[in-house]
């Protein structure tokens, strides 16, 4: 890598990095639960808070990420948009079909591959709640979702810091399953990160992440003049719930659609 690097520059997370304690965003949890300002009994409000607080105490998200060069299908480099074959990494070990990811990474010559997970403990806890307390399972699940999203943001912030220390900028997150980027890229994606060994994160035969409370994403890395924008790729167009979204039916948007 040829750009100047500060001596104290942050490094890539090649092995699992435990993310610092984070207060779960209660408003986000309530939004996942479909809350729209209804009056709630004190008992239920306290119960929801207990589950969220328990999740906050019990779950410790971990992440790995590394930065790889993008390659063009025709053997050149430094250009993400490659027409027919989409985007390539690592000599074709990972090939990203579809137009959306090519557009998303346009102008980037590298991208970070990141994976965050709450791990098996979250899955076991949710399953146990399912057997005795469906309401608890619902709320704890929403708290886990909020937490892993926050973890993905924190991971994105590490990538941003890594980029800035090198005079670069990083872009928004884009996950397998968004728009026309198929879930089938999950498996080679995780292999490149060695995620089964590093995080205990795997895919099922249906290409779903297991444990489920996990996020994988691409983050473009751009030169100083590039159009980096932190956060997550947003908008209903990239969402795979596009056709069934309960918010859209009501003419509303969910938390993810906010810019």
């Amino acid at each position: 890598m040829d750009e100047p690097v500060r001596a104290d520059a942050p490094s890539e997370a090649l092995t699992a990095r435990t993310l610092p304690f984070a207060v779960i965003d209660r408003a986000e949890v309530l939004r996942y639960l479909g809350y729209e300002g209804q009056g709630v009994s004190r008992e239920l409000a306290e119960r929801i808070e207990r589950y969220v607080a328990a999740c906050e105490q019990e779950q410790r998200p971990r992440c790995v990420w590394r930065v790889l060069a993008l390659e063009r299908a025709d053997g050149g480099s430094s250009t993400a948009a490659t027409g027919g074959r989409g985007v390539l990494f690592a000599g074709g070990v990972l090939e990203l079909p579809g137009k959306a990811i090519a557009r998303h990474l346009e102008g980037a010559d590298r991208a970070a591959l990141m994976a965050c997970t709450l791990g098996a403990a979250s899955a076991r806890r949710l399953q146990a709640l399912g057997a005795v307390d469906p309401l608890g399972q619902l709320v704890y699940d929403a708290a886990c979702t909020a937490l892993v999203e926050q973890a993905a943001d924190a991971c994105g912030a590490q990538i941003e810091a890594w980029a800035r220390a090198r005079g670069l900028r990083s872009g928004a997150r884009f996950s397998p399953g968004y728009a026309d980027l198929p879930l089938s890229v999950q498996s080679p994606f995780l292999d490149i990160l060695d995620a089964p060994r590093a995080l205990g994160l795997t895919v099922t035969s249906g290409n779903l992440l297991a444990p489920a409370k996990s996020v994988t994403a691409f983050v473009g890395v751009y030169g100083a003049a590039g159009r980096g924008a932190a956060g997550v790729a947003r908008g209903c167009a990239v969402c795979n719930l596009h056709d069934s979204c309960p918010y859209r039916v009501r003419g509303a948007v969910c938390g993810h659609a906010h810019a």
Partner: protein
């Protein structure tokens, strides 16, 4: 220099007997990456495409003085090779390359399959076993000297691999797991659990590899030593990787690695090598270190009794006085609800019972599903799997059918306790080989062809025979616990003393732990719990170690808590003081209560119910708007006097606590059916309508369902289970490949409230299983859920199968990615966008057509 075959064998034999150190090689992947392999590539394919590169890595390790090189087969499973090469050709080539490098010993290397097993993933135990069996056969055919199974984080996957190797490779099996900084694997297995399970399973060496450097692994290895009956093996990383100038480097150099390995040797490791980041330079220094070490010090195995799940170890020191309890509630004998659940395939009920007993402090759980009409092997396996998915306690697998025991303990994650073997020759021959093969401890009942002997001495004689027979099968005596069999004091009063004496004798003469089902003692007597509690205390006094009992009995728990003070298990009596310092003495309470009744003539008035609130305010506004970080709490309204209003209010506001009392009052005025049909059901309907209008949100709907359930339960308490009309039966399942079952659980809750019989098949359910349940229970409405786009296909397959084979059966579907059009496309008869809608669909279905 290549060792002659006999030298090789003799070095391996010595090492596996703990008499010699053995040096494995270091990293393969790190070396291949240095040679130009890219991240994410399959290293095993290089055996075929770049054999020289692989062979050169082996040669470098042989030159560094390694005794064993691991063939480059870590990921060579059919699943990971994914058709790019055959498993046997990869093993053939890899072992040949290792052999050609001049290695003294060649290990076939088997790593994880890279996908999670059930219940967290979707891969079944038997499928995992088949994958490993193919590798084990390939290893033997390729001529490997031994197999190393490594980098495992799931104890059950490890067990599948070890069994496959033992059953198909016929070679020594060395097994290592990967632990994180918290001292556990990703799936929660501790070093003690790994050592106990793998020792019992009969591996030839066990230990740890990968993830951490040698210094960080040393304390974990020390923890394994106490439970390891075989030599300890460690292949540590060279610290943590970093990227420097675009290259991945590791931060522990060879010299500090070697000094870290010194700590591993001190902790008891005798088989050493390296993992990620280690190189021939690292191994060359280890060679010098081991050569200077001489003969290993004796093993530190302690021969304690222990059993475990994949997460929790229950261990009783060999000469210690600690006691433990085994919950007895998962057993259909005399429990109608449990019988119904087993017949209906409702394993959630068993799982919930397991969690309840765990919360009540049980240390292990007995699992018995014996009902004459059930396929016991199949049901026992399923029950065990469902319980292990949610409960971390070790299990006692309880069945009179050795086939059922075998099916269950084979797939059990951890070291199970088999209940039971007895002194009959037939029983010894059927049960002990199973316990040995699958690494279990076993309960020995002191009865034989002559029945239960009347004297302590004769019970001891049977116990002695059982222990000797176990040892002849290779089961050490610390893995045998003897049950001296309690009999009813009402019919065999003179026997009680003999039982207690037998416990003393068995412990003293045989040095084994004892177990006892305590409650048999009180059959036929009034105040059974009192008798049980006194007998339990006596048995503890005689030396009983494990009590099989009902953990829901406060009186029994009191005895156990007090005993743990008296035997110094509860150090400083901290737990006892914490639990009992503020507790009222129940006898004192009773006396006070009697006193109070005398004063007010038995008409004690309950105080105002502090929990009472009214229905939700329709004009409620959140203090900081709908996006605020806390829901807005409505003001507590006045209490309705009319019992009907009161019950209705409680459902609408989702309050379960006061429901039983309110229903009690209601039943003074209304008969049970009226209470349900004119009060509880309309209130639920109203909540559903409010949910539809967005006036309540999902957790409120569920809290209301809980409150209604508390109401139904209270009615059932009064008039028995027959009170609520059976409105029809529904099968619910989350489809194959999908583990997201929250929506299905909510639907279940609501449907049960409305009086439907729900057969909940769980998650990741195959189409055929749904069909079988529909046929077995004559069900005409099925609800299927799927959360992910990718699993909607499985939903379609299930619907097609049902429509083809059971055309009268209708299917409703729901799930985040579905909409009415999509539901129609997959062939569903009904679409329910949420749980309230599902209840309406069921009402229309059974109301209109039934």
């Amino acid at each position: 220099m290549q060792l002659k075959p006999e030298r090789r064998t003799s070095l391996l034999e010595h090492a596996l007997a703990g008499r010699a150190y053995l040096l494995f090689d270091g990293a393969m992947g790190t070396m291949l990456q240095k040679a130009g392999m890219r991240a994410g590539e399959l290293p095993e394919l290089l055996n075929l495409t770049h054999p020289r590169v692989v062979e050169n890595v082996h040669r470098a390790y042989v030159r560094a003085g390694c005794d064993v090189v691991s063939a480059n087969t870590f990921g060579a499973s059919a699943r990971k090779l994914a058709g790019k090469a055959r498993v046997d050709e990869v093993f053939e080539a890899a072992v040949a390359l290792a052999r050609r490098s001049g290695a003294g010993l060649v290990a076939a290397d088997i790593g994880p399959l890279g996908t999670l097993l059930k219940p967290l993933g979707t891969l079944g135990f038997d499928e995992a076993y088949e994958q490993f069996a193919e590798q084990a056969r390939a290893a033997r055919k390729a001529g490997a000297d031994l197999v190393v199974v490594e980098t495992m984080t799931d104890l059950l996957e490890m067990k599948a691999a070890v069994l496959a190797c033992k059953e198909h490779a016929g070679l020594p099996v060395l097994a290592t797991m990967t632990f994180g900084e918290d001292g556990r694997t990703f799936l929660g297995t501790s070093p003690e659990v790994a050592a106990a399970t793998l020792s019992a399973l009969g591996v030839d060496a066990l230990g740890a590899n990968c993830s951490l450097g040698p210094r960080a692994l040393a304390p974990l290895v020390a923890r394994m030593a106490r439970y390891a009956r075989v030599p300890l093996m460690v292949q540590a990383n060279a610290g943590l990787p970093r990227v420097v100038d675009g290259e991945t480097v590791f931060d522990v150099d060879p010299a500090s690695y070697a000094s870290g390995v010194r700590a591993l040797i001190d902790a008891g490791a005798t088989i050493l090598g390296g993992c990620c980041g280690t190189t021939p330079e690292h191994m060359a220094l280890l060679r010098g270190l081991l050569d200077a070490c001489g003969r290993p010090s004796p093993a530190r195995y302690r021969a304690d009794f222990c059993i475990c799940s994949a997460q929790t170890l229950l261990s009783l020191e060999r000469d210690g006085a600690s006691v433990a309890t085994i919950g007895e509630r998962i057993n259909p004998t005399g429990k109608r609800r449990m019988q119904e659940a087993l017949r209906a395939g409702d394993y959630t009920h068993l799982a919930a019972e397991a969690i309840r007993q765990q919360r009540l402090g049980a240390d292990a759980l007995d699992v018995n599903v014996g009902l004459p009409e059930l396929d016991e092997p199949q049901v026992l396996v399923r029950a065990m799997e469902e319980i292990q998915a949610v409960c971390e306690l070790p299990l006692q697998i309880d069945s009179a059918d050795p086939h059922a025991v075998e099916a269950a303990v084979r797939r059990y994650a951890g070291k199970a306790l088999v209940n039971s073997v007895n002194g009959k020759q037939e029983s010894l021959e059927a049960v002990l080989p199973v316990a040995k093969r699958y690494g279990c401890a076993v309960v020995g009942l002191t009865l034989d062809e002559g029945g239960i002997p009347a004297t302590a001495q004769k019970r001891l004689a049977i116990a002695r025979r059982i222990v000797a027979a176990a040892e002849s099968y290779g089961i050490p005596r610390e893995d045998v616990v003897v049950d001296c069999l309690a009999m009813a004091a009402s019919t065999s009063q003179e026997q009680v003393g003999e039982i207690l004496e037998a416990i003393r004798l068995v412990k003293r003469e045989l040095g084994v732990k004892t177990v006892l089902g305590v409650s048999n003692i009180s059959f036929g007597l009034p105040q059974r719990e009192l008798v049980n509690a006194v007998f339990l205390a006596s048995a503890f006094g005689a030396g009983l170690d494990l009590a099989i009992m009902n953990p829901a009995s406060q009186r029994m728990r009191d005895v156990v808590a007090a005993q743990r003070v008296l035997n110094a298990q509860d150090v400083g009596a901290h737990a006892f003081i914490g639990r009992y310092a503020q507790a009222a003495d129940p006898y004192r309470l009773l006396a006070d209560h009697a006193e109070a009744r005398k004063v007010d003539g038995g008409h004690g008035q309950a105080g105002p119910d502090a929990q009472t609130v009214g229905g939700p305010r329709s004009d409620a506004t959140a203090p900081d708007g709908p996006s605020g970080s806390a829901p807005s709490v409505f003001a507590e309204a006045s209490v309705a006097d009319d019992p009907e209003e009161r019950v209705r209010d409680l459902v609408l506001s989702g309050l379960s606590g006061p429901m039983a009392a309110a229903v009690g009052k209601l039943l003074e005025q209304r008969d049970p059916l009226q209470a349900i049909d004119a009060c509880l059901i309309p209130a639920l309907d109203e909540v559903g309508a409010r949910f539809e209008r967005g006036e309540v949100f999902l957790p409120q709907l569920m809290a209301s369902a809980e409150a209604a359930k508390a109401g139904f339960d209270a009615i059932r308490q009064v008039v028995g289970a027959g009170a609520a009309a059976d409105k029809g039966a529904v099968v619910l399942a989350t489809v194959r490949g999908d583990v997201h079952d929250i929506g299905k659980n909510i639907v279940k809750m609501l449907l049960e409230n409305y009086g439907y019989r729900v057969y909940d098949l769980g998650r990741d359910v195959a189409p055929q299983t749904v069909l079988e349940a529909v046929r077995a229970h004559g069900v005409r409405l099925v609800g299927l859920s799927a959360l992910m786009t990718t699993t909607v296909k499985a939903m379609q397959e299930t619907i097609e199968l049902l429509h083809e084979r059971e055309p009268s059966c209708k299917v409703m579907v729901g799930g985040a990615v579905l909409n009415p059009a999509y539901a129609q496309m997959v062939g569903a008869d009904y679409y329910a966008k949420d749980a309230a809608e599902a209840a309406r669909v069921a009402a229309a279905f059974f109301g209109g057509g039934a």
